[in-house]
Subunit: 231 residues, 2 copies
């Protein structure tokens, strides 16, 4: 008797519907996959290691995902859902800040880019250089995230009069800067240097755009945001 059987048997009287079982199993597998991507990398995330991490059998995985690519692609979507939520929380948190630019970039760093979630994303990003299907999935994913981020930017910020600045372009710059910092963080090895870069950017951008006066509400959020994982 395997550990998993014992674990299931540990809840004796519980009767679960098929959909419940499937969803729970998928969630476990996806969580384990994302965790493994962040910790073991793309190549290190073998099916065997993932099912071991999830504490389920090989058969369970193959039942829900016919091959590895299917699991990875679903994990990518799961990653996007998590990004949505984290981004929503970030946008909500800066609504009441005074120095909104610095608050935003630091919140983005702490809650989005300096996280295991983003490390997992990075692994997929690099792997997608040699996997067109994955690349297309990430491309759409990025586009959808930008689709909620950019309206929020418009909601919060306006170009400084006469500067000719473009807030959207500036925030794309920010995201590239954060991405660059994230992939190099472990060789930079200097938290204060990273922190200084975040401050530097917010100061620079602060002379090119201002937070709109009187805006204290978060931007309108797409309905899809808080929808649970599956139906």
């Amino acid at each position: 008797m395997s550990a998993q059987s014992a674990l299931n048997a540990a809840k004796p009287g519980v009767r679960r519907t098929q959909a419940e079982r499937s969803n729970a199993m998928r969630r476990r597998l996806l969580a384990a996959t994302v965790e493994s991507l962040a910790e073991e990398g793309y190549a290190g995330s073998t099916l065997s290691s993932i099912v071991r991490r999830a504490g389920v059998s090989r058969g369970a995985q193959v039942h829900h995902y016919p091959n590895k690519q299917a699991l990875i692609l679903d994990a990518a979507e799961d990653l996007m859902r998590r990004s949505y939520r984290a981004l929503g929380a970030v946008l909500l948190s800066v609504a009441k800040e005074d120095d909104r630019l610095e608050a935003l970039i630091k919140a983005c760093w702490d809650s989005l880019f300096a996280t295991p979630m983003y490390r997992a994303y990075t692994e997929l990003l690099i792997a997608s250089q040699r996997d067109p299907v994955l690349a297309e999935a990430l491309r759409q994913m990025l586009q959808r995230v930008r689709g909620v981020f950019e309206p929020a930017v418009e909601h919060y910020f306006e170009p400084a009069p006469g500067s000719g600045a473009n807030p959207k372009a500036l925030f794309l710059q920010m995201s590239c800067l954060l991405a660059g910092l994230a992939v190099q963080a472990h060789v930079i090895q200097n938290p204060s240097l990273i922190h200084a870069q975040l401050t530097l950017w917010s100061k620079q951008a602060g002379s090119l755009m201002y937070a709109r006066k009187g805006v204290r509400t978060p931007p309108p959020r797409p309905a899809a945001w808080d929808r649970p994982a599956r139906g």
Copy 2:
């Protein structure tokens, strides 16, 4: 008889010294390794595929590099030497430009970050998140590149009076921005957007630092730069 034996036999009268043979073989292996890292990724760069790409036998590789890590580490150093040269060429090329900032960032993008060389570096960078030895090697590598880049920056640029800007910090920002663009370029999939980001940064930075007047000579270059690969 293998392809390699035939290839060697193709130069009948040639007698080479041992050192020549070793160096030539090492060069072939390193070139193939870097090429493979860029094209097939870290995990895809197996020893078998590398020797196949180099057109040499498995035994040759094992003779020069006892294990995979040794080959990878030497490839990393080779990568650094190439970066040195490319960087030297870039710094030399901007010496005579008028809009030196824009010329510099675009030259860095074209000659350093948007290259197979940097793609190989990225693979090592990501892999080094789970390989402390490789991470340390890359850390030193980065430090040495910065050690030639930052004096050059001081040589070419000065902070705009009263701006309180720090050119070194600004160029670190630039390198992070370029790194972020590089890892995402294939999902951004929009050359003009990348180009716009380069221009945007040079405009921003242009208000914070100026090219020193009258400087038309390249910065002093470390002696190590043009030294051939091995001795």
